[in-house]
């Protein structure tokens, strides 16, 4: 069964400043959930709080029955939630193979590590071809595959991605989303991602949430957004008291 990530009433911030004012989010057993929202609305902060990089002030993060709230990042990874930071975060001076092995640092069984390495090579043959090269010498698109490949080394049930399309050539943006869709379907993984390439992201999303000023102003199926005028209203609009969409997200 596909893992379900359930975030409830999440509050988090930096110093004295609260950025997320009680955010709730449910992947609801769907494969791909996209969080949209304008600059500074708290999207990256939400992902950081989910993966444990930023300890939440209040609220909860649950993976199926397991409470992840406040766990350190490495324990959240052990629970099957792997994250890809903005830009992929590969190690440019390490080789392709070394980068992939870094993704398996929690594994002690060498045989298992080799098996997973072969799985990643089978999925992305270009990485096997480039195995001994420094990761920094790869093209932008190959670096992205490497970052995804490294994340796959943990065999995650949930992948949390912060703007997977950022900095990629326009031609590659569509490919990234196609890859996400394929992994979601073939591996049964759950994806939670934040994106600025709204149109591309909505193309592959099963659910979406719109975050504005640290609050969820819409949650539901992308088709319910019914066109881009609605989305721009959410981006540019003030918070309507008792907005039915907000209620839906809270239920």
């Amino acid at each position: 069964m596909r893992a379900r990530l359930l975030v409830e009433g999440l509050r988090a911030g930096y110093g004295a400043v609260e950025v997320l004012h009680g955010v709730s989010l449910d992947t609801a057993g769907e494969a791909v959930t996209v969080v949209l929202g304008p600059n500074g609305s708290g999207k990256s902060t939400l992902l950081k709080a989910v993966v444990g990089v930023l300890p939440p002030w209040a609220g909860s993060v649950r993976l199926d029955g397991t409470d992840l709230t406040g766990l350190p990042p490495h324990r959240i990874v052990r629970q099957g939630v792997t994250t890809l930071p903005q830009g992929g975060g590969i190690f440019p001076r390490l080789t392709v193979e070394e980068n992939l092995l870094m993704g398996a640092y929690l594994l002690e069984d060498g045989e298992e590590v080799r098996t997973r390495l072969q799985e990643v090579f089978a999925r992305f043959p270009i990485l096997e071809e480039r195995r001994p090269q420094a990761a920094g010498a790869l093209s932008g698109g190959q670096q992205m595959l490497l970052a995804v490949g490294r994340a796959l080394m943990t065999r995650p049930r949930v992948m949390v991605l912060d703007e997977p399309s950022a900095g990629l050539a326009p031609r590659l943006v569509g490919e990234v989303f196609d890859l996400i869709r394929r992994l979601a379907e073939e591996e049964g993984m759950t994806f939670l991602l934040v994106e600025q390439s709204v149109r591309q992201a909505l193309r592959v999303a099963d659910r979406c949430a719109v975050l504005v000023q640290g609050e969820v102003r819409f949650a539901g199926s992308p088709s319910a957004l019914s066109g881009e005028g609605r989305l721009m209203d959410l981006y540019f609009g003030r918070r309507p008291p008792g907005d039915p969409d907000v209620r839906e997200s809270a239920s």
Binding site: A16, N39, G40, V198, R199, E228, F236, R238, R239
Partner: protein, 233 residues
Amino acid sequence: MLLDARGLTRTFGGLTAVAGMDLAVPPGSIVGLIGPNGSGKTTLFNLVSGLLRPDRGRVLFKKHDVTGLSPHRIARMGLGRTFQIPALFRKMTVQENLWVPAIDEPWEAMRRRAAEWLEFFRLMPLRDEPAEVLSGGQQKVLELARALMRDPDLLLLDECTAGVQPAMVVELLEAIRRLRERGKAFVIIEHNMDVIQDLCEQIVVMHEGHAIARGDLGAVKRDAAVVEAYLGR
């Protein structure tokens, strides 16, 4: 026009941060400057306030050509600004921060004016505290107060409500409205659309270094170029 910037262009290496940008601000008005991250809003402020010199274009302030003048000279002509991350003298007290921009003025008058702004922004109880102990929101307010010490006609505010608690945002907006009643003009960079809608007569949307739309919020959010800038291709 109080401010009339035309054709401003500035590149950093191969990146053109501001590309042929025009910005006109009538006296006593509030112009909202919005746009996605990296669209050139803060660079535009730096070009207008003299922190950066434009590669091309002209900045007219009160009908004088101030292009390429140093920031302190433009400030003395009546242009004040604040920064996204408050640039205070952290170890100096709150009132000392206010004295700095007017240190060349007669002592008594200068102190009196500082006291007036401390009252206006309700900072008086904190006047002898080092600036660094203030909350994020109070630091933003102090920076605005400091920018007012030379009695500017135009203030450029860079995300003055970002990271400020909601109750304090309300106070800040009220202060900006009262300052406008005194004839001051503003350009505000802002991501909080409620603030934009409450304050601004005109909104300018920047994308890739230039203005792609101007008008009120209802008009700009329906503009095809704005939709594309915010939602991607």
